[in-house]
Subunit: 343 residues, 2 copies
Amino acid sequence: MITIYDIAKKANVSAMTVSKVINQTGRISTATRERVQQVIDELGYIPNSNARSLVLQRTQMLSLLITDITNPFYTTLARGAEDAANARGYRLLFGNSDEDYNKEKNYVETILSTRVDGVLFAPAGDRSLDHLQQLHERNIPFVILDRTVPGITSDVIAGDSRQGALLLIRYLTELGHRRIALVNGSSEVSTARLREEGYAEGLREAGVKVDPKLVLRTGYRDFSDEAGMEQLLTQPDKPTAIFAANNMLAIGVIRLLRKRGLRVPEDISVVCFDDLDLASAFDPFLTVAAQPAYDFGAKGMHMLIDRIEGTAPTDPQMVILPSELRIRASATTLIGQSKPLGS
Amino acid sequence: MITIYDIAKKANVSAMTVSKVINQTGRISTATRERVQQVIDELGYIPNSNARSLVLQRTQMLSLLITDITNPFYTTLARGAEDAANARGYRLLFGNSDEDYNKEKNYVETILSTRVDGVLFAPAGDRSLDHLQQLHERNIPFVILDRTVPGITSDVIAGDSRQGALLLIRYLTELGHRRIALVNGSSEVSTARLREEGYAEGLREAGVKVDPKLVLRTGYRDFSDEAGMEQLLTQPDKPTAIFAANNMLAIGVIRLLRKRGLRVPEDISVVCFDDLDLASAFDPFLTVAAQPAYDFGAKGMHMLIDRIEGTAPTDPQMVILPSELRIRASATTLIGQSKPLGS
DNA sequence: TTGAAAGCGCTAACAG
DNA sequence: CTGTTAGCGCTTTCAA
């Protein structure tokens, strides 16, 4: 391994001088600077960031923790975060918790033990509280992303889940739907609660009572609850539309509908939260409430770096980004549904 | 910051003893072990991995570098890699080069300066050679993923691009297509070259000569070359089918076709390499040569860890995974194409 | 403008 | 079974 001493020796200076050249601190004569720089280039020397961070207590490295690396919402967000980090001179490393508190815990340990400068943190759910408190206790700056966690006060950037859900339900009720099922994430996740609130409010506006039998609560990932869907679809007064609380749920829902021989939207309408970037790109099928995923990442990252660099306001900031209704083909009027389910 | 000395003092032992408890090395009486462990738990002590890696020259941390975090092939691969890493007791951090040599260079620097134990490396292209050589010089074990790089010998796990392309072209020629366009990635990328070989071979088998005017070479990401598509589609003897060399290109192609008012497959057939996991899940539309993305990650990670732990064969290993033709709706017979483009 | 000494938090080697 | 010493690669302080 090439160390700063190798460079120093070869350039006939002390290690300290080399350090000054690398970090552009202190005064150095142009002559020595150039000589040292040349040796550095020649040997391809790269400082050991472990040694450096040990003394500096800084790494110039940031972490982004997301909850589902296969979800396009998070990957687009990751791009935004990375672009912003690079623009401000930080390196970014990603972690993926897969909506799993245990994996999340491991990442928090990694973060804590590597002393990154800050974390953009999409919590798995309310039980992420412990993890966030740990970060707080160790003075690792963080910005919470996408989901809030009761009990913790910090910078937050999130979407307006309530409003997005409301837009979708309003749209469905305007199409004439009254029996609208909700396939939701876990109640332990703030966005799931808020989307359910928006759902309830949308129904209320239309004078429809929430029917608990039309609400299925599961996880935001890997939906394949056939029994649950069976129950939803085989009750006396069947739903004519389904609101899936995120894109991954929508995929599961549609898959299970297909499996039962039901067509979307001819037999039943489906809408969801979050867009499916790639799928929607060439096949604008799903009607969705889309969130500005890239901005989540970019703005969240700027908030984080502002916080780290001390340029943020003292008080915790909360930024809420709106969703946008994108009307496509997966939901239609009751009349458009050739064969109402209830018949 | 809580250090090993804080623990030592509180438990009335030396730092060395704490270290032994943490790392389960050396002999320690059960009594002291328990006492120390209790203090560790109580204070929530987490060792500083920078300090540790400085002396150990190991981090128990691995890197995965992918070239497009929004491409489902890579995100599914990432899951496989992560699962395998965790199963073997390593932590994994992700990097994303966005098919950009410059970003890739930054990640290599990060890798080099943080001294991770190894890297699963999907190169941006042939010019990644420098970066890989740097890793090699510094003795950072790596496995090359998905794409080979001329000039470097190492463990490799890749798909059979040639065979996959051949399957697709055979399928198209069996449907009766003769004028098949290729929208390919950059010639600087091994998979693009191999897919073009498979394309050429498929045409040869069918007695069709490759027409350079039907080949468009671009990048694997963000395809939106309207002028190129225009040229492809407006020549005298128009193509009746397009082979997109990866999923992202297929999306761009279909988008541009739509923009020109062309329907797929009614007006023109489209097939591509790599599946679109989410999109295909509920809308099995694109006919593709799918690669076992999860296995790429999982097997590649095992190769890497075997190499790190010295349990791999001395000689570099090369694993080639086959692709699988998934016939869906985006390509059809010429007769099925209601209005041949040439008419 | 340059360098010597000390120490960041940890562990290997050895001594007790 | 436990502790002392030294040093991993780097930078801060302060003296030259």
